[in-house]
């Protein structure tokens, strides 16, 4: 899957166009030629990385959020722990997990899930707390049980905040996912990683994989905006 070109010691004739071997700014022919073996698989891996991390993170954060909603005493400690966790550089967290889980997907996912958790948890708690007291009392007055208040009043009102959290979580996970390439040959970070290891960094590979990562982040963000419009049309104000 490597390109030919650059000042390699053994000249590799016959591979790559003049654009690639001349190291021009951007070579469409390389992108076309390596979509199937490099960029496409990397994109798919990246989507998998992100989807798994955000789903697991969401489930855990949601359960923790519900628990916190009941027992609000644990909000402050959990908040401080997660803020501190968030300061751990991903490259360090990935490495520090290696002795436990090895150079595996599990390692990468544990780190990614931790970061999504930290982002989602405060948003979910904040969302659940956002129902005005009057509204909750009115619901109680109408004879709703606590569970019904939760499912029919508090959760629907929490949806905008939860989706707001998901947007940040997804975009961050796509970004942090590129760092996974320091551990595993996976995701959109890997082509960039390889391109940087070339004697002269291979621009086309950096730009195309980088653009895919950014596009993936923007695309996921857009999908969540659409989801919010569908779920809670009353909460939509512009694109922000």
């Amino acid at each position: 899957m490597r390109r030919a070109g650059g000042p390699t010691i053994i000249p590799n004739f016959g591979h790559g166009s003049s654009c690639v071997t001349g190291d021009h700014a951007f070579c469409w022919d390389w992108v076309r030629g390596h979509w199937g073996d490099t960029l496409g698989p990397a994109l798919v891996q990246h989507i998998e990385l992100t989807a798994i991390a955000v789903s697991i993170g969401f489930v855990i954060a949601f359960l923790l959020g519900l628990a916190t909603h009941r027992v609000s005493r644990i909000e402050q400690p959990v908040g401080i722990v997660s803020a501190l966790l968030y300061t751990i550089p991903s490259i360090a967290l990935f490495q520090l997990l290696v002795p436990f889980t090895g150079l595996t997907w599990t390692t990468v996912e544990i780190a990614l899930v931790s970061y999504t958790l930290v982002i989602l948890f405060p948003n979910i708690v904040q969302g659940l707390e956002s129902a005005p007291d009057d509204v909750i009392e009115a619901a109680r007055g109408m004879g709703l049980t606590r569970l019904q208040v939760l499912t029919r009043v508090e959760l629907p009102l929490a949806v905008p905040a939860i989706i707001g959290g998901l947007r940040i979580a997804v975009v961050s996970t796509v970004a942090i996912g590129t760092i996974a390439a320091f551990l595993l040959p996976t995701g959109l970070g890997y082509p960039i990683f390889l391109a940087l290891k070339e004697p002269t960094p291979f621009k086309t590979e950096i730009y195309s994989a980088g653009a895919l990562a950014v596009a993936l982040a923007i695309g996921c963000d857009g999908l969540l905006v659409v989801l919010r419009r569908v779920l809670v049309p009353w909460a939509s104000k512009g694109l922000a």
Binding site: I88, A92, G177, I179, I192, A195, I206
Partner: protein, 233 residues
Amino acid sequence: MLADTATMHTFVDAARFIGNHTGLLATKTLEQLALSGAALGIALAIALPLGVVLGHFHRGSTIAIAASIVGRGLPSLVLIAAFLTVLGIGFVNNMVALAVLGSGPLLTNSYDGVERVDRDAVEAARGMGMTGWQVLRSVELPLAIPLIFTGIRVAAVTIVATAPIAAIAGGGGLGDIIVNQASYRLSGVLGASICVMLLSALVFAGLAGVQIAMTPRGVRRTSVIGEPQRREL
């Protein structure tokens, strides 16, 4: 993931590495701090005044939103690699890439901080005969300090935490050890990772302390620590 004895040994080795290579680690830490400091300095010099001015005139919300997207969505690895292709390997490209990363939260927060100051307060100040500059200096900026400082803290932690990645583009610092397992082995990689982690935590805690000390008493709100903004590293 129970910590069995082999795992324990790995961390003991890492601790030993830290003990045996304090000189190397100190040098690399200083390198990383120099790079981070330079990047933060540039971001502070450009993004902070820009955000404050835009917020003061209630202009350029698109720029602020764009900055927040840059801060959130641009993977640091992509940014560092892209700047490397333009500026070449070494200190400068990493400094610029990190400065761009840090500019996101700085610009967004300084814009938000000033822009969202209570309009009534601003109008009262104007009614008292203050000029635009005086309003900015004695009303808007003090009220915006908590948000601006959160922006500075997020930017600083983002930059310090991303700096190890710069090693892949010749930026030096503790990342040099982390990306070079062949020379430093797992113990070195882990030791350096622990140092990187401690460094970020120290910067975070130190700036949180400064923030509490600097925030005018009247605008101190509940928690300074809360709401971790997105940091992608």
